[in-house]
């Protein structure tokens, strides 16, 4: 009779637990132990790879004893002699073969590892590479693996022979190829199979883009020199005739007009046949149809060759397929920002026709919010005519925060707190709370804005501010203004790219002069010290930048004005601001940035110019780098005015040109940019003073780093046409003004 199991025991397992072994058994307590079950159990336990030997024993009164001999586990793996393939890549390769610290060692894997590693080397052209593994026994049934690699030299390229290229010389073709017969630097003379594949593709597109519609690489041969150190490549090609485009037509359901289709053509009749231009045309048509909602349109370029007179007629066959609709839009990754704060930026709606233009526009708007490190929109096809959109965002810190306690002999203990947050707990609100308290300065500024006061993006905000400064703290000039007041701002979009904004500020200001600053004294004598006013501002801006931090394309123009209507004095003046910033991608890493900035102020109904404390200043980061902050422009006359500080001016003109590029050599340089810049600008009291030599300029290197605490910028600048009275400053840094 068969053996009925009452109890199961395991012997010899030091490392594998009873629990694990039991989980692989085909039998359990109470089952019949038939020979086939025993066989199955042994097989299963062997298949786990844990054991060198497995045996089943029946002991008296129903006890099934399983005796196992465990295989050793791998204690450590060391690799010697590998340069080409780094140790972590080696470990990853070993992982994929199941060879890792702690795993069970089984010697049959060793040959597989040697073979795999050798093939990895051969793939890189290291034909002479050798791999060997030494296994050393360690206590407690463990083993150590020493993988010895002898890389040898990679097979360098002996010769590349191109057969069949009549029209283009060997050298011209070889210069376009990755592989080359001799390379001073880099490894282009080292053979690797992937490089050959891509070179063949390069040759094909080189010819197919110059009219050779029937170009074919017939075959390619790779052979080794007898001592295996050199590789010889032969690429046999057949050029075929050079074709020019005879006619171009569009067939099938074109959806858009023939003229508009012709407008999308990247290739014209009479030009040489060019595969890349045809592909570019197909993409252009596909995008255009996608904008009409036909997201899965198929455009097939049919070429029929007239071999005798080397003409090819092009027929773009258009199959729009069904119009596509968006069913649902899912948002992922917003661990902080609320769903509607993202959804309200989208220009594509659910239960609506799909529009590529709307999706792309939505993507740009999300990137311009500045809430996300990355934002992209994927399309998830559900049926023939419906898609879901998946908005994937990666949050980043949207605030800058600084708090500190300082001490200086002059000022005693000072406390500062500064929090500006552009996405308060994910609600989309902008808020800032700043305060400093020290012996000489007490200031506070609290503000909040809701960019979406209305559903369509009318923004409303306001804030309170208070500032009281004891004299001579700022190094601008020896006077201070204490103000407090309240401000409101309202803005609304006037188009997809432009918006209008209005501001109203009720300001109470007192002017305090340092006693020996005569100019200030005379001013207060004439106009008094106390100025209350209503400041009304209005501005229009047009912005097509493609990102919040470090845009690489688009431009932004803003024109704004401030009208100051005095309530307790007749100091009435206005200020006008004009700013134009232009971004142009030079390549996929270099971006050109040009900026022009004009500020101008003057009095009205009777008063002349603007009060001296409202003057504009220039110098330092944000205006003209390389000069001490606010140090440019005319200065007071020590004798008559009692100070030689810069006066500032009621006209300020700044321009700067910059080439921006990511920090080289580090992978994730998402939040870091370098730039070579040239700044020029100055402040003037009157238009007639504005002459080119008067402009101060500098060139230098800028660094902009978006830290979790806010944008930080450094600059190393060399001032150019400075005079001896100018105060230059090579190194400057600033927290808060992004590039």
């Amino acid at each position: 009779a068969d053996f009925k199991i009452q109890k199961i025991e395991v012997e010899g397992n030091k490392r594998i637990s009873f629990e694990t072994i039991r989980s692989y058994l085909p039998v359990d307590i109470g089952d019949e132990l038939t020979p086939s079950k025993v066989q199955e159990g042994i097989e299963k336990l062997y298949k786990t790879g844990f054991f060198r030997d497995v045996a089943f024993f029946e002991q008296g009164d129903g006890v099934l004893v399983i005796r196992v001999l465990e295989r050793p586990s791998i204690a450590d793996i060391t690799i010697e002699g590998n340069e080409l393939i780094k140790t972590e890549d080696m470990n990853m390769a070993l992982d994929s073969l199941g060879v890792k610290k702690g795993r069970i060692f089984n010697d049959t894997q060793m040959d597989r590892i040697i073979l795999d590693l050798r093939r990895r080397y051969q793939n890189q052209g290291y034909y002479a590479a050798e791999v060997d593994i030494e296994v050393t026994e360690l206590p407690r049934n463990r083993v150590g693996l020493l993988i010895k690699v002898e890389e040898g030299k990679p097979a360098s390229i002996g010769r590349i022979t191109l057969v069949g290229n009549q029209t283009y010389e060997d050298d011209r073709l070889k210069s376009a190829m990755l592989l080359s017969e001799s390379a001073m630097i880099g490894d282009s003379d080292k053979y690797a199979k992937p490089k050959l594949q891509s070179d063949i593709e390069t040759l094909r597109s080189y010819y197919m883009d110059r009219g050779f519609a029937e170009f074919k690489v017939i075959s390619s041969q790779v052979s080794l020199s007898l001592d295996k150190t050199q590789v010889f490549l032969t690429i046999n090609m057949k050029e075929g005739p050079q074709y020019t485009i005879s006619t171009i037509k569009f067939t099938g359901e074109t959806i858009i007009t023939q003229d508009e289709l012709r407008g999308l053509l990247r290739i014209r009749e009479g030009e040489y046949f060019s595969r890349s231009k045809i592909v570019a045309t197909v993409n252009a048509i596909r995008d255009r149809l996608s904008e009409e909602g036909y997201a899965f349109a198929e455009i097939e370029p049919i070429t029929n060759l007239d071999k005798d007179n080397r003409l090819v007629s092009l027929d773009f066959r258009i199959e729009p397929k069904s119009r596509v609709y968006v069913r649902r839009i899912r948002i992922e990754g917003n661990t902080r920002t609320k769903d509607y704060v993202i959804r309200r930026e989208l220009r594509q709606f659910e239960s609506a026709p799909y529009s590529l233009k709307a999706v792309r526009r939505s993507n740009t708007r999300l990137n311009r919010l500045g809430y996300f490190k990355t934002a992209k929109i994927d399309t998830d096809r559900i049926s023939k005519d419906q898609v879901d959109l998946v908005v994937k965002v990666e949050e980043q810190s949207t605030g800058s925060f600084n708090a500190g306690v300082g001490y200086s002999q002059v000022d005693g203990v000072s406390f500062t707190l500064g929090v500006t947050e552009r996405n308060v707990i994910g609600s989309g609100y902008r808020a800032n709370i700043n305060g400093t308290y020290s012996a000489s300065t007490k200031s506070a500024d609290v503000g909040v804005t809701n960019p979406y006061f209305t559903v369509d993006g009318v923004s409303l905000g306001g804030g309170l501010y208070y500032r009281e400064i004891d004299a001579a703290e700022l190094d601008v000039s020896s006077y201070t203004t204490n103000n407090y007041g309240i401000r409101f701002n309202l803005g609304y979009p006037t188009s997809e790219w432009s918006s209008l904004n209005y501001g109203l500020k009720f300001d109470d200001q007192t002017l305090q002069c340092v006693d020996d600053f005569l100019y200030c004294k005379n001013y207060t004598a004439e106009y008094g010290k106390h100025f209350n006013s209503v400041r009304y501002t209005m501005g229009w801006s047009h912005d097509t930048k493609n990102a919040f931090y470090f845009p690489t394309d688009g431009q932004s123009t803003s024109v704004s004005g401030e009208l100051v209507i005095p309530t307790n004095s007749d100091v009435s003046f206005y200020k006008l601001f004009f700013n134009e910033t232009f971004y142009q991608p030079l390549s996929d890493i270099f971006t050109l940035r040009l900026k022009g900035d004009l500020a101008y102020g003057d009095g009205y109904n009777g008063s002349k110019g603007i009060p001296f404390y409202e003057n504009f200043y220039a110098g330092g980061i944000g205006t003209v780098r390389g000069y001490e902050p606010n140090s440019l422009g005319p200065r007071y006359d020590e004798a008559t005015d009692g100070s030689d500080d810069p006066t500032g001016g009621r006209i300020r003109i700044i321009s700067n040109a910059e080439v921006i590029f990511p920090m080289p050599f580090i992978e994730d340089s998402g939040n870091l940019r370098l730039s070579l810049f040239a700044d020029a600008g100055n402040v003037f009291t009157d238009w007639n003073e504005v002459k080119l030599p008067e402009f101060r300029s500098s060139v230098g290197l800028g660094v902009s780093w978006i830290t979790p605490v806010g944008p930080l910028s450094f600059s190393f600048a060399k001032a150019l046409n400075y005079t001896d009275t100018d105060k230059t400053q090579v190194f400057q840094f600033n927290l808060g003004v992004a590039m």
């Binding site: 490392r15 637990s17 694990t20 702690g102 899912r330 661990t335 707990i425």
Partner: protein, 234 residues
């Protein structure tokens, strides 16, 4: 534990486990994690390794690294398919997924329903798997409770989006979102509001028949709710 500090590589599995357990009990999750990871590296199989998977996962959970906790638990489930502590493993995995979307503002200022639904869905599936595998485990009650909370959160999310589209006058989008709630989360708290929103959207769209059919269902629901309340009173 052992007085003189032997060099770690000399430690037996017991030494590692004791160090880890001390740190675990005194809630120093960082050093607990360190010792458990070392124990698993040096003694990858056997009794202690089994136990340390679970305690390591719990330490990661309390150390607010839910993804690491999930990884350890999934490894444990794979290695010990019939282990007695599996229900706990599935439950802890669900808890970790549930904690990804947590934020301490939630109780008074913000609503998790307005944030990333991915992790909520993951937690929901984890609790579901626990219930389907171990319907009678001691965690099942708590799991059922969380399922209801999560289901309501997901419904609430749908409702918020439906409301948003209604405000933006995208009535068809709003109607279909509401319809999604009614079909997918019929027993959620927002179900009645979803019905009403759907009816309003259909009215705005001029789809009178859809609106009337929706109204009929609303009346039905309201009647049932009243009956329910009468019953609760007596």
């Amino acid at each position: 534990c052992s007085l003189v500090e032997k060099d770690e590589s000399e430690w037996t599995v017991k030494d590692f486990y004791e160090h880890a357990k001390d740190a675990y009990n005194s809630e120093q999750w960082e050093s607990a994690i360190e010792y458990y990871e070392k124990l698993k590296a040096y003694y990858p199989y056997g009794k202690y390794a089994e136990q340390s998977y679970l305690e390591l996962a719990y330490s990661y959970y309390r150390y607010d690294e839910p993804e690491s906790a999930q990884r350890e638990l999934e490894e444990f489930i794979r290695l010990y398919p019939k282990h007695s502590a599996l229900p706990y493993a599935y439950y802890l995995r669900a808890l970790s997924a549930d904690s990804i979307n947590k934020s301490w503002f939630d109780s008074w200022l913000t609503d998790p329903a307005s944030r990333d639904m991915d992790s909520t869905q993951e937690a929901y599936n984890a609790y579901l798997e626990l219930l389907s595998r171990f319907p009678t485990s001691k965690y099942s009650a708590k799991a059922r409770e969380r399922l209801i909370v999560l289901r309501n959160r997901m419904a609430r999310h749908e409702y918020q989006v439906a409301e948003y589209y209604f405000k933006r006058k995208a009535y068809l989008a709003s109607a279909n979102r509401a319809k999604f709630i009614v079909e997918t989360y019929p027993r959620s708290m927002v179900n009645i509001y979803a019905l009403q929103l759907m009816r309003d959207a259909y009215q705005k769209l001029g789809m009178t028949q859809n609106a009337e059919d929706a109204q009929a269902v609303i009346d039905l629901n309201l009647a049932r709710i009243e009956a329910q309340e009468k019953e609760d009173e007596n």
